[in-house]
Symmetry: C2
Subunit: 335 residues, 2 copies
Amino acid sequence: MKSHILLSHGGGGKLTRDLIRDRFLPAFSNPYLEKLGDSALLLAGREKITFTTDSYVIHPPFFPGGNIGELAIYGTVNDLSVSFSEPLFISTGFIIEEGFPLNKLDEILISMKEACIRAGVQVVTGDTKVVEKGKGDGIFINTSGIGRVEEEWLPQTPPTAGDKILLNGTVADHGIAVMTTRENLPVESEIVSDTAPLNLLILPLLKQFPGKIRFMRDATRGGLATVINEIVDHTLLGSELWEESIPVREDTQALCDLLGLDPLYIANEGKAVFIVEKESGEEILEFMKTLPFGENSSVIGELTPRHPGRVILKTPTGGGRILDIPIGDQLPRIC
Amino acid sequence: MKSHILLSHGGGGKLTRDLIRDRFLPAFSNPYLEKLGDSALLLAGREKITFTTDSYVIHPPFFPGGNIGELAIYGTVNDLSVSFSEPLFISTGFIIEEGFPLNKLDEILISMKEACIRAGVQVVTGDTKVVEKGKGDGIFINTSGIGRVEEEWLPQTPPTAGDKILLNGTVADHGIAVMTTRENLPVESEIVSDTAPLNLLILPLLKQFPGKIRFMRDATRGGLATVINEIVDHTLLGSELWEESIPVREDTQALCDLLGLDPLYIANEGKAVFIVEKESGEEILEFMKTLPFGENSSVIGELTPRHPGRVILKTPTGGGRILDIPIGDQLPRIC
């Protein structure tokens, strides 16, 4: 029996799931929360809105391709987007450690400002707390967000066998970019985080193919493999992924091999999984490729009635291996 | 020139105000944020909603009369309430330090659950992050919240000279209750935090006196004196408070004297200031006294055209002293 919080409780894997199922859900049990979506879908009077929250504790706060500030904006924008909504309003809650340099704070704020402009959202409310030196770690940022939903964007039917699984580009870049910085690895690397506002990709898709996308989730903590597991977990559906169709940068793969990491379990910050109805799969894929952050999209697998609750990775040689949910995360504090 | 974050930047006083005005506002400049309200008043399609966020870093997390969990629920409920709205939905973002005892987490979750039931709100979305031992301080909780607004509840006119200032009970109990615990003071004290869901007081007021309340703010960080200063700061209005009409518990006052603290600057978690039109003042006060958390309400002063931007405390002997905005807070990490 575990009696204390472990780092893995925050890793997005099995321990996180258990913590939520055994402790948080019983405390706050209600139909909104029980869906365990990236956002809650709420009724505010006559309007459907989405509501989400995420705290960012990434270490280090500055990494190749970004910093904690834009990550906090895009992360919440993405959670709202994969919940079939248009991100509108963001709140920011800063917890800053005494002694944090103000010029670093300014740098973070500037990139948050630019991120807001790029994503078309507004920070409308905020809070700042300061904790004593040694009681925090530089800077933590919580962002919550509200989006608006048009009824016709929502899926007409839930995911079903035969549905295609689409992905909008290479996996593992964010995690590996952070990892190389954190560990001061003696390697020359051009890998940068893929942090990106996915509403620029998803909103046009929702408008072009209303009701045709059956599920979306961004592949952050725990990576692609964990997200696909969450989709089929406790359902009568299984999933098959085709290894050769999952794009991984060559240098990212090389670093994963060097470090003994599986890119399918590494966090992304600009990649989402799309479950779409079989018939529309190709058409949606072609349109995705014309959109921002969609150029490298591909069909990476499908849902199947076989091996329910399981994710199978099919190798080019015809073999297969089970992709299980990890206990924790290979890289803590990745977002 | 300060180049690093100080504890006082989080204290709710001048340094917090400067941080917001000089750094946060320029970054996120927009009409919603510039109002600097306790919540943002937003338009979600055809509905008016409020949106607010607060991170709770209170030390210690368990204190006489409550813990960080219910504080995080009530604090956000109160921010939505003083923004003329009915609190509905709450998000929770936990940042937990590795090694935090799970039974303490359970205790916090149970009191959050009870707080939600009492306040009539639902936790609909959440997030949990874990940081390494020594990189946090037990547990930090962010809550954001959404409320709904009925047009008629909103003030018909802004605060004006002659308006009465109402307060719903004794000040400084929260800060002193936390302080006695934190410092292990060798005193027997029965002072407990006043943490409370003020929607139970405010909603009935809004329904009974729609449009008659001109401003509300809960007197948290920086206490009563700071809140009144925020109301008149940079306006053509001044404020006079009548010292003998501001309720302070005898034992709270005694501890303040002992510690050299001014109760008017000490944080509360269940007290709000109400600016109401002169003519309705007495009627509103009488109704407040019949409501939960309103029994000890009183008229504590009024807005005046004299000494604009200043808060003057009138003593029973006819003297007066200026209540200025403090630089930081007398007690850091009080919420």
